[in-house]
Symmetry: none
Subunit: 213 residues, 4 copies
DNA sequence: TATGAATGAGTCTTCATTCAT
DNA sequence: TATGAATGAAGACTCATTCAT
């Protein structure tokens, strides 16, 4: 007897509850600072239940990583306009990333905090492929049209993504419930108005100027 | 009876060995993923010895953080040319940061990985102040002279530092002995030549164009 | 969902097993001489289990102390005859203490060994209050009636309790399973019959004569 | 070449310094609470030096125990009047013990705190013999003369010594530097004047009445 | 299927003891 | 002989994981 649709839905709910609880706890306290029973409690399930859905704590964090990465990449790339001009394509990517951050700051911070983590498995690291492929294609094409500077794509991508992340870190308050502190970010004493809102269009224009031909 | 110079040198050596071993392990496996006895083993000392030099594992990571931060800030700001024009000042900062990364990749990655860590104490966080102050002053002055875009300094700083970090992550291989994995970095399939060398002057020019007026 | 009665009973059993094992080990080897895993082993539980029932080793020893102190004080003072004459009251206290020692030698020795311990918390020290109050009242009243010597109550109490303890130590073998060694007790070669039984009535008469008017 | 007398004296000084430092630290913080290097520091010697005079920390505490026990027994028994009457002999013993406590409270407390300790070796436990023998002889002789009650000597000795200790604990403040708290001592709220001085003659009279025929 | 009490491996840290100087 | 830096075994405690219910 296969499980009823209702039962399946209940199971999916529980899985989601666990992932959601874990996501926010990992952002708040980090992977090592979060105990599995805490996740269970916040998710409203028993500690043992988590192991019915995930093989281990590491499997859980990898599942979240992959899910968020996918969500990010869908948010940015779905219905990407392949034939728009480069300026427009760049704006689309940038503003969609901005939208993603505004909608799901916790998820974005999670990706940021965990991308270098030793407990990510090979598969998690590989999830980026789709996004990568599209972007590389776009850049290469644009370079061929002499609309972008001719440097190594890897460098341009790093510059843009890094700039986006740096602006986010420096200008957005920490994700709610987090005490994360911006980075090498040379902040600390900056007092130019309250954090919390970013002029994304201005930021986009700046970054565009960095890479345009 | 004060200790002999030889004994002092030996102690300093040991302290350095411990900090060096800890630095590379923290970069490889993270703070929580690294056990104190592992550090001891890599440093070639007994586990207890670490506690003759550092009060606790946290004190150790903070000592490393402060040392690297200081080293970075000295490398970038010592003999900074206060009267050079903005273009030149930007180049100086950028190229010095590049030099620092080339000379001490592990230290740079360490700072990157740990700046938001919950185990950093107030003093560690305060070490950034000197750097911050100088940079804010430079930016504000340059904006007054209409040589930089008029956006919020926090945003410009985030953009520049983020770009620098993003380029580093994306174009440099992991620090030797490290398995650090690039970030939100959209890399993975990029095949534009081997990682490991960066055209820093090109990168500098790009980033300058992002912020110049 | 509240735990089933059976589960509660099992938990109480486990708690008791831990306290019992700890009590006898503390008596045998002292608080500092006893390792937590030893307690666990003797109690037949895992080492971690102890921490489900007691916050720390100190919390455990305090729980035992309070439990034994309470038991002692109940054994001595419950249904104390407030209107009996002093001679009779003294006999009641003495013989009840004797009964307690005969029934629960380990507990008595534990109290003896731990009453001055630095790891006892304020609450543990406060448990003595009830007993204290009653006894002070009894002594003061008896002195007013000229049935006891007129010296400081503190001295009389110390004399009586000390005598009781000294007799116990000197005449009772060590608690079963214990290697406790008698004190300043000037024993060693005494050969007046086997240890292990005390003529409590005789001892009581002696001690009474020490304090009666 | 045998060591010069001066060297021997220096060695003896050092040994004494170590034992003195250890004695007071053991009384203050207990055996387990005292670290060997602390003893060394208070004694003004290097940590390693202690091991030139004592095989181990246990050997040290046993040496102190034996020394204090011997000192106590000499203080009480040297020039004991074998032919005085029982009343007088009792007074002598009692007042000499009192004198010892007044002169050397730390030593007395040390003996009290350590007599039941698991780290005392057989030899330490055996040191009591001399005192024991004399006292047993005295008691037996006195009982034969019908000057003492006819109970078991062990009981009478326990009563007397216990009473002495109980009075000491209850009426003397803790040894200077100690936080030792009186025992099963039913104290706590007693307010009959400040602690710190004992009417030893009164106490002696009380205790005598407990055992006289 | 879901639970959470129980577990014990592994953590950081202390400290008695050694030994090169 | 005296030292004190170095050691590593052992301690208290945490927490990912299991399994009886």
């Amino acid at each position: 007897m296969s499980p009823s649709p209702a039962a399946e839905a209940r199971a999916a709910d529980k899985r989601d509850a666990i992932m959601g609880a874990a996501l926010s706890l990992f952002v708040e306290r980090g992977f090592w600072g979060t105990a599995v029973p805490e996740i269970a409690e916040r998710a409203g399930v028993g500690a043992g239940t988590i192991y019915r859905y995930f093989e281990s704590k590491e499997a859980l964090v990898n599942a979240i990583y992959r899910a968020e990465k996918l969500r990010f990449s869908k948010a940015v790339l779905d219905n990407f306009p392949p034939h728009a001009n480069t300026r427009e394509q760049f704006r689309v990517i940038w503003m969609r990333m901005a939208q993603f951050v505004e909608d799901n700051r916790e998820g974005f911070v999670f990706l940021e905090l965990h991308h270098h983590a030793s407990y990510l498995d090979a598969q998690s690291i590989a999830v980026e492929t789709r996004m990568t492929d599209v972007i590389v294609a776009v850049i290469t094409a644009a370079q061929a049209r002499r609309e972008l500077k001719q440097g190594p794509p890897r460098l341009l991508v790093g510059l843009v993504m890094g700039a986006f992340i740096g602006i986010t870190r420096n200008c957005l308050g920490p994700a709610p419930g987090t005490s994360a502190v911006p980075a090498l970010s040379i902040e600390g004493g900056l007092t130019d108005g309250p954090r919390g809102s970013i002029d994304w269009a201005f930021a986009e224009q700046c970054t565009w100027e960095a890479i345009r031909a």
